[in-house]
Symmetry: C2
Subunit: 480 residues, 2 copies
Amino acid sequence: MSLIVQKYGGTSVGTVDRILEVARRVVKTVQLGNSLVVVLSAMGKTTDGLVKLAKEISVNPNKREMDMLLSTGEQVSIALLSMALQEMGQPAISLTGAQVGIVTEAAHTRARILRIDPNRLQTQLNRGKVVVVAGFQGIADAGELEITTLGRGGSDTTAVALAAALRADRCEIYTDVPGILTTDPRLVADAQLMDEITCDEMLELASLGAKVLHPRAVEIAKNYGVPLVVLSSWSDAPGTRVVSPPPPSARPLEGLELAKAVDAVEFDLDQAGVSLLRLPDRPGVAARLFGAIAQQNLDVDLIIQSIHEGNTNDIAFTVRRNSLNQAVAVADAIVPALGKNSRPELGEPEVKVEERPIAKVSIAGAGMIGRPRVAAQMFNTLADAGINIQMISTSEVKVSCTIDAAECDRAVAELCKAFDVANSPVGLRSASHKPPAVRAVALDLNQARLAIRQLPDRPGVAAKLFGLLAEENISVDTII
Amino acid sequence: MSLIVQKYGGTSVGTVDRILEVARRVVKTVQLGNSLVVVLSAMGKTTDGLVKLAKEISVNPNKREMDMLLSTGEQVSIALLSMALQEMGQPAISLTGAQVGIVTEAAHTRARILRIDPNRLQTQLNRGKVVVVAGFQGIADAGELEITTLGRGGSDTTAVALAAALRADRCEIYTDVPGILTTDPRLVADAQLMDEITCDEMLELASLGAKVLHPRAVEIAKNYGVPLVVLSSWSDAPGTRVVSPPPPSARPLEGLELAKAVDAVEFDLDQAGVSLLRLPDRPGVAARLFGAIAQQNLDVDLIIQSIHEGNTNDIAFTVRRNSLNQAVAVADAIVPALGKNSRPELGEPEVKVEERPIAKVSIAGAGMIGRPRVAAQMFNTLADAGINIQMISTSEVKVSCTIDAAECDRAVAELCKAFDVANSPVGLRSASHKPPAVRAVALDLNQARLAIRQLPDRPGVAAKLFGLLAEENISVDTII
């Protein structure tokens, strides 16, 4: 007999008919001999309706009261599904976040789960009941029963966290798509369904994956080795397995979602930088440049493009040090072919080689998802050490900076200290590191670009900027 | 500085505009120098909408899950009012039944309040906050946080119970009528607003009062001496004060709503019964009969009318023993004037005097409101003692039976034992008891009549019938 956690999103429980459909699926899973915990979101547009009510009263409603308001949505869903199951003869009981004892941080509207005591759930499962749990919510204080919500991806997070706490055999995330696709099917007609994807890949593709499975949930699945499947509420297709190697050791359930933000500090001294300045701002420029470089089989690592006034771009990239001359030769050859920029008074396109040796230092870890403060802390750490940052590249799970190579040791030591990472940083890993072939493409249309011009080039500027953004809980996706 | 508990019903918080109106009234009350606890119902038709959803899933939904479902309604109201208050600059915090620690019986959908620990409320009041509490709900088990609802009149009950627990200076019940009226203004145009009414009067008029103030709330107000006012949400008129003499001693807050169902066992040996059999079933018969008796200044106590097949009625009544001859003389005189019944084969109207001495035994107490089992328990107790019941009369706060006078002592002793009433029953009280002049008239259109014919006249029949009804939680209003 397996213990399965199933999660159904808002559209899957959007109407009474759909709730009955979910109930039938649950009963079928039980009849196959499984124990079941079911996590639900609020019905369809319920949350939107509640938010609208609040906005009629206040443009910036109190966050605690928003949690009080929004947590009712899931409570309605779980009561109705339990009734539907009982009506079908299947014993069931609904439990709110407070009743399950999902204890979170006190951060209203975006709390992380601290711990879950699985005893109450286990008691109900032992009684042969399907336990129907309200997703997206918890309590910040077990004494005062202060209701919190988990923010974006909350119900996914609840489901995977319960699976981790119960050591469930499987966690099934039901959505309105058949699984994880290679890209967005609304944009690319022949997007392919993937049978399997690793947690790490999901995290790197966060902006794609977030539509069907939130990175916070993936992070927990990875940390606790929860077998995860994403599948459709509307079919019996097998969906996509989200897999990971088992974690090296059993992680304690305390601080469930508060694993260390940063797992590793990495460095790479085998980097060299090339900048192409004042390129015309036209489609195809980057494609021609990197196409030509790829023809030479040169591995490009960081790429950043910055935009100037007057429709010119700078593109900088790094390559392995022993590829530098070759890369420069390609760049020198291609630049004239890229064309002149439209305002000659700004100067002609030019290739510039970074004369001083550079190093790339990176912090990596799934725990930095949704914590913009982590990047700011990295930049602060470097600034406090008087180390200037040249290039920055960020992803959901990694922040990399290039710095003067002479500062590399100091940078690594300071970062290890700041992020409490064991003092054996991973170095030069990229030299032997074969990145996976491109498996999927994410397009995130939900981005805004903010350009801040003419910043002084000195230590601390990036740190200050990111610190201010982090205070407002703004995640920065790409920095150029 | 006074501590005031205000309660607003569903129509008072039915829309965002009305919530804002309530918020303005709350702020005004605070600005007059008061501390405030506000109890809210669910917005307008929210509860109806939730019940409809549940009924689409199950004709007889699980009561625990109904509580899970319905308790969300008040949670929405309290979040929105708190936001509105904060928007007006008034610090406020919303609390659910669980957060307040309103502990109830485990009886889902109709739980009574066991206790309220006022500490959490007091802490928030001390911080200068208006505390906005979800009415109608509590928890049955402080460990498992099992959500219960209080059933009919739940929000009134919450408000008065909080006022009792906090020893508030006043409890204000805001409704959509200006206060307690002498009768239903929809039926009688010149219904008068009463400045003041006693709790006991309110309880006797329960079916009228229930529309604006539930008898359970009145019961708590009476038991704890809570100063209560019923007033309109739409005006500044002073409303109706519901007053009581202060209770003889401070009642403990444990078992807050579970005061003994029965306060007193009463008996009256000074009764004699007259029956008028086979009267024609025509309007005005009872009026002519009792009009003629009243002209003789005879006090009539119990009156019951029973209906036979074939359009004839029996009317039985009791009078003081020394008035019996006079009453029989009036009845003998009036019966021929009442006319013959339409089916002569059923027999002519006839006056019959109960030959054997009768006694009236009664149990009385506000605690029997909403507990149909209490009446059943009385009939059972008499049946177990082999005592046959002749006539039964019930009100919200009293059940009276007439029995053979020879059994009176035994009946009283058994009832005192069954209801744990001190062994000094009130006897003959009615002899010296001057009932208040009629102050108000209640009409309850929400009644169904059930006739059970040809029951055997032996001990235990009434008990069995009431026991079955009580099992289904059906309250019987009038028995004839």
